[in-house]
């Protein structure tokens, strides 16, 4: 994992000397002269960034980059980008590019152009990954080296010229059939049909039962979503669907449905990542996602800690559970305490009046030796077993015990370890924001503890509405809309399910 040890700000006239030093060392014969650079940095139609070593104190200049966008012209250009040789491979170039992309979008550019040396595959790949395409080659553009230039273009809002796209999102990764509709950043409908009750007698989600329920729920859920949004399928500009991570058989129902709908209404399809969808949901409440942000996603299927520098370009998995998901631990401990499924709300109820300090249950992966390897990972299997053993011992001794104390102490252990690691991630990466997502966010103690600790550390805490925290189609639609507005090409019709899709794959092509 690379640690972020640089800082980016807008460049000023005062940075010119340092910029020229780097310019000359990077471009040699090709370098601009000082007058040109001066004009570029101070001009009104340009936006120049400078990257410096260090996070608190400003160290040496290690990179710079510039954008040009003339008012009234909807094309913008990446003028230049340079990173000092010693500082390459740390993501500084990407970070500079992401900032310029954001600015180009803010200025309503329709297209963004750049030129790159034909013999620089590392840079080409960076641009391709950001959504640029190679549209032309200028022969022998770079002299005296006699090297061709690739002309690359990024098209913003390719499929929704002149207005925000209306996107229908389909989510079937676990036990909720979610169909949501958004217009750009605006939520129009979010209908969820859950098969939770059918799983209750098994004490956990049964994949086959979930998949059967999705098939039954598709049509009524679609009808409700369209009715709520007051739209017909003719109004839909694109379809987004979850293709992972999640339960394979369940995901396939959504994929089959989404692909057929895409062919039927002749609209593009976007295959998107479920976990990144959870992060993107904040856009629907606030109109944008402030980045960077740390995101803690906790549900019956996932316990993941993400560092999101850019929703569609730069999501990093910091850690995740190495055994049970937190929600699963709630379900299992509920069974131990003879409470109903799902365990989260039942344990919340049982914990009322209990002493969270009555029993000190273990905090998984929190010992110093574990923190070295698993600083941001979670483990709830040992905790679950500890509770089961504690109850077993108490029962064997025939001693009456206070269920409220056990429930409160268990809940405290889960909330403590989740919040401690999430806050650590914010502090370590100097990210002043934490976003919560997933069904376990419904847990009262988790919210309370997150609020307390975030306040103490000056971290802004975002908890979306519960209907957007649990699995839903609106978050999938929202992520699809972001991809479209960033000019991303649609997915093909051949993508499949990936039950363990990594968070770095925001869209599957």
């Amino acid at each position: 994992m690379t640690t972020v040890n640089y800082k980016i700000r807008e460049a000023t006239e005062q940075d010119l000397d340092a910029i020229m030093l780097l310019e000359n060392s990077c471009f040699g014969n090709d370098a601009w002269d000082a007058d040109t650079m001066h004009f570029e940095v101070v001009a009104h139609h340009t936006y120049y960034l400078a990257a410096f070593e260090g996070t608190t104190e400003e160290g040496q200049l290690v990179g710079f980059a510039g954008l040009s966008k003339i008012p009234g012209n909807d094309q913008a250009d990446i003028q230049t980008i340079a990173v000092s040789e010693a500082a390459r491979g740390k993501g500084i170039g990407k970070a500079l590019m992401l900032d310029l992309l954001k600015e180009a979008r803010r200025l309503h550019a329709a297209e963004l152009f750049l030129e790159v040396r034909a013999d620089n595959p590392a840079a080409q790949n960076l641009y391709l990954n950001l959504g640029f395409e190679h549209i032309d080659t200028r022969k022998r553009y770079y002299q005296p080296d006699d090297v061709d230039a690739w002309v690359m273009r990024l098209q913003f809002s390719k499929t929704s010229i002149g207005r925000e796209p209306i996107v229908l999102g389909i989510e079937t990764s676990c036990d909720e059939t979610g169909i949501g509709i958004v217009r750009g950043n605006t939520l129009l409908a979010n209908i969820i049909s859950s098969s939770m009750d059918e799983h209750a007698r098994f004490g956990g989600v049964v994949p086959e039962i979930a998949a059967r329920a999705h098939l039954e729920a598709l049509k009524p859920t679609l009808h409700q979503a369209l009715a709520k949004a007051n739209l017909s399928l003719k109004d839909i500009d694109a379809i987004a669907v979850t293709n992972g991570p999640g339960l394979g058989g369940a995901l396939m129902v959504g994929i089959g449905a989404a692909k057929a709908l895409s062919v039927a209404i002749e609209k593009p399809i976007y295959a998107v990542n479920h976990l990144v969808g959870h992060v993107g949901v904040d856009i629907l409440e606030r109109g944008e996602l402030e980045t960077p942000t740390v995101a803690l996603l906790v549900s019956g299927g996932h316990t993941s800690l993400l560092l999101v520098r850019d929703l569609i370009n730069d999501v990093e998995l910091l850690g995740e559970t190495i055994d049970d998901a937190a929600g699963e631990a709630f379900d299992k401990v509920a069974r131990v305490l003879r409470l109903k499924y799902p365990g989260g709300p039942e344990i919340d109820k049982a914990a009322v009046g209990g002493d969270p300090k009555a029993i000190r249950f273990p905090r998984g992966l929190s010992l110093p030796k574990d923190m070295e390897k698993h600083r941001y990972d979670f483990s709830f299997s040992g905790l679950k077993t500890a509770v089961a053993r504690w109850v077993e011992v108490a029962e064997t001794k025939d001693e009456p015990f206070n269920v409220a104390d056990v429930a409160a102490s268990f809940r405290e252990a889960v909330a403590d370890v989740l919040v401690t690691k999430a806050v650590n991630a914010c502090l370590d990466h100097k990210v002043p924001r934490l976003l919560l997502g997933g069904g376990v966010v419904a847990n009262a103690r988790l919210r309370e503890l997150a609020q307390e600790r975030c306040e103490a550390h000056g971290i802004e805490l975002r908890i979306p509405a519960l209907s957007l925290c649990t699995d839903n189609g609106a978050m999938i639609a929202a992520l699809g809309a972001q991809l479209i507005m960033a000019g991303r090409a649609p997915s093909s019709l051949h993508f499949g399910v990936d039950s363990t899709l990594p968070v770095t794959t925001v869209q599957t092509h």
Binding site: L218, K332, R338, G496
Partner: protein, 223 residues
């Protein structure tokens, strides 16, 4: 305006066809018994394109309801449901084994009627776990719809032999083709027996055992 019928079946491989008034306009087959999720979009898009019509021209969607292994079967039904919604077409369900029966009876007739012509026909399909889905047919209706006299069921091959031991019947190893599914539907429409029920014919319960004591962690029932 001619009526176009889109036929989808994912009970074995992924097979899609477009029919118009009893005539096959296009058919696309992917034989693998897996990868239905990957193939279904292309199969439908290609079948519609090969029929040389706009997707919105489809007026009926017919889907094979199985019986079949669950995961693949559902993908075809989900796709059919949504395609019908997308273009405002009517949605119909046909037992997948009927399509095989229809093809087998057609082949029998084409080969010229002989002694075998009167025998019932046993249609089987792989149900995995060393079992088969089966149904027994007496023949075709006047319009050409297969008449099922026993089944559909799921059984070990040995148990099925035992069950049918005192019966004489013919067998077939024809593979399912969505075009045959469409022919069955058109015949059923004439007979007035076409069904809008598209519920999957699973024939087996979901594989889950409710733990006797929910406090045991031994049985992993969560995903």
């Amino acid at each position: 305006m001619p009526n176009y019928t889109l036929c989808i079946d994912t009970s074995a491989g992924t097979t899609v066809a477009v029919l118009q008034g009893g005539e096959i306009r296009s058919e696309i087959h992917f034989d693998e018994n897996m990868k239905h999720a990957e193939r279904i979009g292309d199969a439908i898009a290609q079948a519609v394109a090969a029929a040389d019509i706009a997707p919105g021209r489809i007026t009926n969607v017919v889907v094979g309801r199985g019986p079949a292994p669950f995961t693949g079967l559902r993908i075809g039904i989900a796709a059919a449901v949504m395609y019908a919604e997308g273009v405002g077409a009517k949605l119909w369900g046909v037992t997948s084994l009927d399509a095989i029966a229809r093809a087998a009876f057609d082949a029998r007739e084409a080969a010229g009627a002989n002694g075998a012509a009167d025998l019932p026909l046993l249609v089987t399909a792989d149900a995995r776990r060393s079992e088969v889905y089966w149904a027994l047919y007496s023949g075709l209706s006047k319009s050409g719809a297969p008449i099922m006299i026993e089944g559909p069921g799921v059984a070990k091959p040995a148990a099925l032999e035992e069950l049918l031991a005192d019966k004489k019947f013919d067998r077939t190893d024809i593979k399912i083709n969505a075009a045959d599914l469409g022919k069955v539907f058109e015949a059923q429409l004439l007979d007035g027996s076409a069904s809008q029920n598209v519920t999957a014919l699973y024939l087996r319960e979901a594989d889950a055992v409710a733990p006797k004591d929910l406090r045991e962690f031994g049985k992993r029932v969560s995903g």
